[in-house]
């Protein structure tokens, strides 16, 4: 039950994008089309889950025993950057179409503060190994959910008669703000 609550908490109640406002750059940049949004969401979920596992091991088996917790940020950033590079190399090697489409956005995952936030929050909340992984999946699913909702709305907005001065970034920010308000309705539902 606790694992389920952690998952729901990370995906909906404490959504990284719409509650913590982390990972806003890809949220705005890759939400023009639903298909791209789902792909980016899957990529982020993959990186988040692996990151949650690796950073847990590094923190509890290396940093804490050797009393070098001060290196937490540096080591986590290094892990995330290395993981994204590996994913990028892997995709470039095995799937050119996917690389052509997502390749230009992969660096956004490296600089995505949601990934670093996930690693730091998992440590802060003193999650166990399995709990951290579930937290990573939940955060990734929540990120995907936010991206897909935003992309769906933006696709519909293509057909809408948006006033000239609100077109582009303006209406995007208004939609993002409205979504954040809606997700804030879940605040306090689960405290884990």
């Amino acid at each position: 039950m606790k694992l389920f609550l952690i998952f729901i908490s990370a995906a909906i109640v404490n959504n990284f994008v719409l509650s913590y406002f982390l990972g806003i750059c890809p949220f705005v940049g890759v939400s023009k089309k639903v298909s791209s949004a789902v792909s980016m969401g899957m990529a982020v979920t993959f990186v988040m889950t692996i990151t949650a596992a690796v950073t847990w091991l590094i923190y509890h088996l290396i940093l804490v025993p050797f009393n070098v917790v001060i290196l937490e940020y540096v080591s986590f950033i290094l892990v995330i950057a290395s993981l994204v590079q590996l994913v990028e190399m892997f995709i470039r090697k095995i799937s050119k179409p996917l690389y052509d489409t997502l390749g230009i956005y992969l660096p956004l995952i490296t600089t995505n503060c949601a990934i670093l936030g996930l690693a730091l929050f998992a440590v802060l909340r003193e999650y166990g190994f399995i709990e951290s992984i579930v937290y990573g999946i939940g955060a990734g699913v929540g990120f995907t959910l936010a991206l897909v909702i935003m992309a769906g709305i933006r696709e519909e907005l293509e057909l809408a008669n948006v006033p000239k001065h609100f077109q582009g970034a303006g209406i995007t920010m208004i939609v993002a703000g409205s979504l954040a308000l809606a997700f804030m309705g879940f605040a306090g539902l689960i405290s884990i």
Partner: protein
């Protein structure tokens, strides 16, 4: 599924029956702190190689679309399947209560996850190779603009 607009861009060069199109920065890129990193190829160009059946020439402004909607399938192949393998590997060992003397349980679970990841990655590799056998190009030029006005639209 119908074709979807990817982006607008400028034809940088013609490579046989394809054209390399540099994508234009859109308004959402303007304030992105990571935009300097958006340079995927070796030459630092942010662009795609697209089928050029519309006959665009160097310097023309064009609209690039996905020639087939393979993106979701490919994403599932490249991310979904390996992630599933990773999780299955971890949870299989977690629920079977396996432990190795002298090694932390979490490390054992993680190794199990890596094995699952490797197996499913190999599987997705094969799957991707099969799927892309007939996929020469994923993008195509569907419209050509000249000086901001539409001059040609690909039929069909």
């Amino acid at each position: 599924m119908s074709e979807e607009i990817l982006d607008e861009g400028i034809v940088k060069r013609i490579e046989g029956d394809k054209a390399f199109v540099t994508l234009m920065e859109n308004d959402t890129c303007e304030d992105c702190g990571a935009k300097i990193l958006c340079a995927p190829n070796e030459k630092g160009e942010r662009g795609v190689l697209a089928k050029n059946e519309a006959g665009a020439t160097t310097g023309q402004k064009v609209i690039v679309t996905e020639s087939r909607d393979l993106l979701l399938k490919l994403s599932l192949m490249q991310y979904g399947l390996p992630l599933l393998g990773f999780l299955l590997g971890i949870f299989a060992l977690y629920f079977s209560d396996i432990s190795v003397a002298g090694i932390a349980d979490e490390v054992v679970y993680f190794v199990g996850g890596l094995v699952g990841l490797a197996l499913t990655s190999a599987l997705s590799w094969k799957w991707a190779a099969l799927a892309s056998q007939n996929e020469d190009n994923y993008f195509e030029i569907s419209k050509i603009y000249s000086n901001g006005s539409k001059t040609h639209e690909k039929v069909g």
